[in-house]
Amino acid sequence: MKLIGEKGVKRILMLTAFSAISALLLIALFILNEGLPFIFKYGVKDFLFSSDWNPHLGKYGIYPMIVASLWVTFGALVIGAPLGVAGAFFLTEYVPKSIMRIIKPTIELLAAIPSVVYGFIGVMVLAPLIRNNFGGPGLSLLAASIILGIMILPTVISISIDSIMAVPQSYREGSLALGATTWQTIHMVTVKASKSGIIASIILGMGRAIGETMAVIMVAGNSVNIPHSPLDSVRTLTANIALEMSYATGLHRQALFATGVVLFIGIIILNSIASVVLRKRAVKK
């Protein structure tokens, strides 16, 4: 390093520091470049709000997939968010720190399990369970919501835990010293103080749910329709891309990239909201 000198080192480090942001720009550029022209040619309204997806007839309406993605994500939040936030409060407020230090990484193992394995469990265990108890094909909106609800748990739990832990101990002591129970302290003091972090954790979980692909392909059933009940088979935006990408060509392939554009923009918006929420918290401190 003597050869390059201190200034040279700094310049090299600065260049590499822009690697992540340039990767992001490159991704945006290539996805938009493939997808946007198609959207404008086909018509924004027809693409986003028509229900007719029929590639060999040249029909590319992704409305059912948008609806399905939103429902599946909503379902995942209904299941995952309360479970995750409850777990986070239990682990931070009721369990000794030493045990929490073991359980938190254990729960984070849930994030390490490959999504195809979740999908497989959904197919082998969950779908038959739903089929036999509630009817329908089993592979459904409900199955996808449950699997995704589980998959977002580690995100929700670990970010919530971090933000609950960031609440100054003195707040809790102040409340407990006035004779409040742990639960009263949680819902009167801790929740308020860690609210933005918990919201951010849910938004990030939402991003994970909306973007999940392989598990959803395996359990959601994949038929293109607007669901009328949780037991209906649905196809999400991500599933739409992954299912047809392997054989799509020409316009069809562009339509899949255009689906990617919709997904990409949605995710960037969610992430921006989450980062603003988290930043606000940092500033408030």
Binding site: S19, I31, P114, I150
Partner: protein
């Protein structure tokens, strides 16, 4: 109506504790279910022979190679970039607009779904750069995907090095780079390695980003321009196309074991690191 605080307290413990327990049970169920069904199918010959009849019979040897080589390539590319970025962010610059943009970009990159990485890798590495469905395309795509994780964990590890070490080093006439090399990186190393291990775990289990960039050839690759199939992709194909439930379970079990080994050693490292600190 007012319920006595003692009862709300008990109710809260039951509900919150129940939620935690449920989460842990789900985790345990997934692992035990896969291992119970899959372990009987794992044998030395399963790991060391080629699949026959599309994977209906035979072993998973070529997918083991794919599973090792793709994450390895990704790590080789992403690690230096990630570490240098975090060194720059924490040691060479003050918080300003540029660092905020870099951080925001890193966060966004971390949130992008793997299918988008797959699309990007396909159009950029496979098609535009002409690498084809190959180890190179797959490895580069995975590298971009894990870069934010490495940046974040390295930055956390670097920030955990006491400020006083930096002061001492500077006061003894060290330059910034000497301080980074001699004091900061050695002390942040366990944390950095933990981040790398977690990234490897993620890369091993990845499917959507890999299937469209590295392809799914079952041949043993002879160069980085050959296509390869990872265990995760193999498992997906077996399970989804209903080729062989037995081999699917065995592959899933192998995959889970690999991921668990990588993640548990990461936690072990982190634990030792924290123990040493205090």
């Amino acid at each position: 109506m007012r319920i006595h605080p003692r009862y709300t307290q008990r109710g809260a413990i039951a509900v919150l504790g129940g939620a935690t327990l449920l989460t842990l049970l789900i985790l345990a169920f997934i692992i035990f279910f896969i291992l119970e069904k899959g372990l009987p199918g794992i044998s030395l010959s399963f790991l060391t022979t080629n699949p026959t009849d599309m994977g209906r019979a035979g072993g998973i040897f070529p997918t083991l190679i794919g599973t090792i080589i793709l994450p390895l390539l990704a790590i080789i590319i992403a690690t230096p970039l990630g570490i240098f970025t975090s060194v720059y962010l924490s040691e060479y610059t003050k918080e300003n607009k540029a660092t905020r943009i870099i951080r925001f970009g890193t966060d966004c990159l971390a949130g992008i779904p793997s299918i988008i990485f797959g699309l990007f890798g396909y159009i950029f590495f496979v098609v535009t750069l002409g690498f084809g469905w190959s180890i190179l395309s797959g490895g580069l795509t995975l590298a971009v995907m894990i870069l934010p994780t490495i940046i974040r964990t390295s930055e956390e590890a670097i920030r955990a090095v006491p400020k006083s070490y930096r002061e001492v080093s500077f006061s003894l006439g060290a330059t910034s780079w000497q301080t980074v090399k001699k004091v900061i990186l050695p002390n942040a190393l366990p944390g950095i390695v933990t981040g790398i291990m977690l990234s490897i775990g993620r890369a091993i289990g990845e499917t959507a980003a890999v299937i469209f960039t590295a392809g799914s050839s079952l041949r043993i690759p002879s160069s980085v321009f050959d296509s390869t199939r990872t265990m995760a992709v193999h498992f997906y194909i077996l399970a989804r196309e209903g080729i062989s439930a037995e081999n699917a379970y065995a592959t899933a079990a192998t995959l889970i074991i690999a991921v668990l080994i990588v993640n548990l050693s990461a936690y072990w490292l982190m634990h030792r690191f924290i123990a040493k600190r205090s």
